[in-house]
């Protein structure tokens, strides 16, 4: 076991798979000699060579086209989009092409591609770096969308993502890259994609969340506990497909639920979670399922992040509305 930050756990997962499988290729803008703008691929080119870990020209659509073509010739591409706000340049490559490869060829071809990309607010990035665009991805049939919130989850989920024979979007929250360390096994292990994790147990309220909001929700749960309310915090870990079994089981126990996301209210995947709870647990609900989200504006100018991003006060307040309904 070693103490690792999330970014170290991510590097460790890539190193593991580069070692395990000669078909794994890691590429993107500045991921080679530079080791990535966040050092996620630090040292990998030196260890595995320029044929395995390499830079690309500056063109996101070209990068996903490269991944698709390499996938068709037997490679297992792990491509990086420097910031997920740049995904618009390659929406066709991801949602229009790799997501549909298996289906449109009737299973003859497939796209064993992992798309890694940083996103997320709280670190005062310039425009279109921090936007939460997982909702766009979650709407595309053929994609799985994974968002880890801890170093341990990041390693196990990234190993699963790379080994998956269909495309996986792996979104890495920038604020979580180095915000804390955690014990991460040095040996390989996997975490099943599509499985949520109960990060805190409780009987009074279910908080369903993902990404940086997992930690916001855990802090809010601590505050609620001081007032005698025990919240159960579920980290979805995969936002498409949703692990509704874990969520429904919890809601049946607590009879109350709150969904917390960093994305705007009209975006993200919170509405999907609410709809599923309504479908499968309405008779167990003592109150409507409410949401904590960002406002429906464009992602804020950096100096306005503090007033715009959802925080633990928002979660506590909204939780009380559900509890006192």
């Amino acid at each position: 076991m070693a103490q690792m930050t999330m970014i170290q756990a991510i590097t460790d997962a890539m190193r593991t798979e580069l070692k395990n499988d000669e078909n794994v290729l890691v590429f993107g803008e500045d991921v080679g000699q530079n080791g990535g703008v966040f050092r996620a691929t630090d040292g990998l080119q030196k260890e595995f060579g320029e044929e395995r870990v390499f830079d690309t020209p500056l063109a996101e659509s070209g990068i996903s086209g490269l991944a698709i073509g390499l996938g068709l010739t037997g490679f297992r591409p792990v491509m990086e989009i420097q910031f997920f706000g740049f995904v618009f340049e390659t929406m066709d490559g991801i949602a229009g092409q790799m997501a549909r490869m298996r289906y449109r060829s009737g299973g003859h071809y497939h796209s064993p591609i992992t798309v890694r990309s940083p996103f997320g607010g709280g670190v005062k990035t310039p425009e279109l770096h921090a936007d939460n665009l997982e909702g766009l991805m979650a709407q595309a049939p053929g994609l799985k969308v994974v968002i880890p919130s801890t170093p341990y989850d990041a390693k196990g989920l990234l190993l699963s993502a790379i080994r998956d024979n269909d495309p996986v979007i792996f979104l890495e929250h920038m604020k979580l890259y180095r915000s804390f360390r955690e014990e991460v096994p040095e040996e390989e292990y996997t975490i099943e994609i599509g499985k949520a994790d109960v990060k805190r147990e409780g009987n009074d309220l279910t908080i369903v969340t993902y990404g940086a909001m997992v930690h916001t929700s855990l802090r809010a749960a601590d505050e609620l506990a001081e007032e005698g309310v025990e919240a159960e915090v579920i980290d979805l870990r995969t936002v498409s497909p949703l692990d509704m079994d874990t969520v429904i089981e919890s809601v049946k126990k607590t009879n109350r639920a709150l969904v917390v996301q960093e994305a705007q209210k009209q975006a993200g995947i919170g509405a999907n979670v609410v709809a599923e709870i309504n479908d499968y647990a309405i008779l167990h609900l003592e109150a409507p399922v409410l949401r904590v989200t960002a406002p429906d504006t464009v992602y804020p100018f950096a100096a306005a992040e503090d007033v715009w991003l959802p925080n633990e006060k928002d979660v506590v307040e909204r939780a009380k509305t559900v509890l006192n309904f």
């Binding site: 070209g62 086209g65 073509g69 068709l72 010739t73 497909p241």
Partner: protein
């Protein structure tokens, strides 16, 4: 200064031709080394494809085919280039480029199923190295850079070839794909079939560039403009591009100057709205079949009898293929769910059960 530069660049992209409209060799030095049998095979394929195109248009009008993009006029461009490939070269076709993948090995009935919209049309046989026709114009270009790099990294002596039209050369992916292949020195061939129109928009409205071939300069790769109605010129240019790529000299952009005699697609396009009959007449004189027929006849390699045999064979094959397409089982929602992922996610597992239940009733 700048004006001079442009003239100098354009001067490098004069059209490459071997056979003129009368079927005479005008460029003996460039004549490809093809046996009599191969020359006859090329002619057979062009005649066969012309008949299949006529039949496909008619079957579409009868409602027995779906989406169809006519190919008459482009036989030399499509088949001359495919003829220069090896079996394990990988083709990434556009939506009009069904003939290339059929001659690369895709059974005709599967091409018809693709036209109708049936998933079995995309279940290519193992030994057919090609993708399904690409509908998103330009996507095939960036993917070609990836396939070409993959072939190179796997140590294969093969190329990736892709096709788009004159309109497609305005897409961002067109430039990205060529540029990536150039940067990685990958064995790729990019063919732009310049049939003068992107639906109703003439090529002059796509770009101020005098040729599409010169766009290769932006990627730092080889570029050549070829008479796309001259099957020998298209063959020779493709073969040279292939040899060059495998010698490690990088990708080539080939612009074939051609024409589609029919509409853009069979989905209600009416070319009389945007094309003059004078223009049609001008290009009909350049018909790739007419000039190659004259050439072969002058060498005593082609007769009316041989041609009729091919015509009858094509008609018979089309009939048999349509029958085989008709006999293919109808698609069920459960089939469509099953081809989404290797291992179905939980939402689809649930929906699979629901649809299986419905389908069993």
């Amino acid at each position: 200064m700048a004006t001079k530069t442009l003239e100098q660049v354009e001067g490098h992209f004069e059209m490459f031709q071997i056979l003129n409209e009368e079927g005479e060799i005008v460029n003996q030095d460039a004549l490809p080394d093809l046996s009599d049998e191969k020359l006859q095979e090329l002619m057979k394929r062009m005649v066969y494809t012309r008949i299949w195109d006529q039949r496909a248009i008619s079957l579409n009008r009868q409602g027995r085919l779906g989406f169809y993009a006519p190919v008459a006029g482009q036989e030399a461009s499509m088949l001359g280039s495919q003829f220069a490939l090896e079996k394990e070269d990988f083709i990434l076709p556009g939506y009009r480029d069904v003939p290339q993948i059929v001659w690369h090995g895709l059974p005709l009935y599967q091409a018809f199923l693709y036209s109708r919209g049936h998933f079995h049309g995309g279940q290519f046989p193992e030994d057919v190295h090609a993708l399904m026709p690409q509908i998103i114009i330009g996507a095939q270009i960036v993917q070609t850079a990836g396939v070409a790099l993959g072939l190179k990294r796997k140590g294969k002596d093969n190329v990736a070839i892709t096709y788009t039209g004159d309109g497609g050369a305005s897409q961002g992916d067109f430039y990205e794909g060529m540029n990536f292949a150039g940067a990685y020195n990958a064995p790729a061939i990019f063919v732009v079939q310049n049939n003068q129109f992107a639906i109703s928009v003439p090529v002059e409205e796509q770009s101020a560039a005098k040729t599409i071939a010169q766009k290769a300069v932006a990627a730092g790769i080889q570029g050549v403009q070829v008479d796309g109605m001259d099957v020998l010129a298209v063959y020779a240019a493709t073969q040279e591009a292939r040899d060059n790529a495998l010698d490690g000299n990088g990708p080539t952009l080939i612009e074939t100057m051609c024409y589609r005699y029919g509409p853009h697609t069979m989905a209600g396009d009416d070319p009389t709205r945007y094309r003059t009959s004078d223009l049609d007449d001008e290009w009909e004189k350049k018909d790739p079949l007419v000039r190659f027929r004259k050439y072969l006849e002058s060498k005593d390699l082609w007769s009316e009898e041989q041609e009729n045999e091919v015509v009858e064979q094509a008609k018979e094959d089309v009939k048999a293929a349509i029958k085989q397409a008709d006999d293919t089982p109808k698609q069920k929602v459960s089939d469509l769910i099953e081809i989404m992922h290797e291992k179905l996610p939980v939402n689809l597992q649930q929906q699979l059960e629901e649809y299986r239940e419905k389908e069993s009733k």
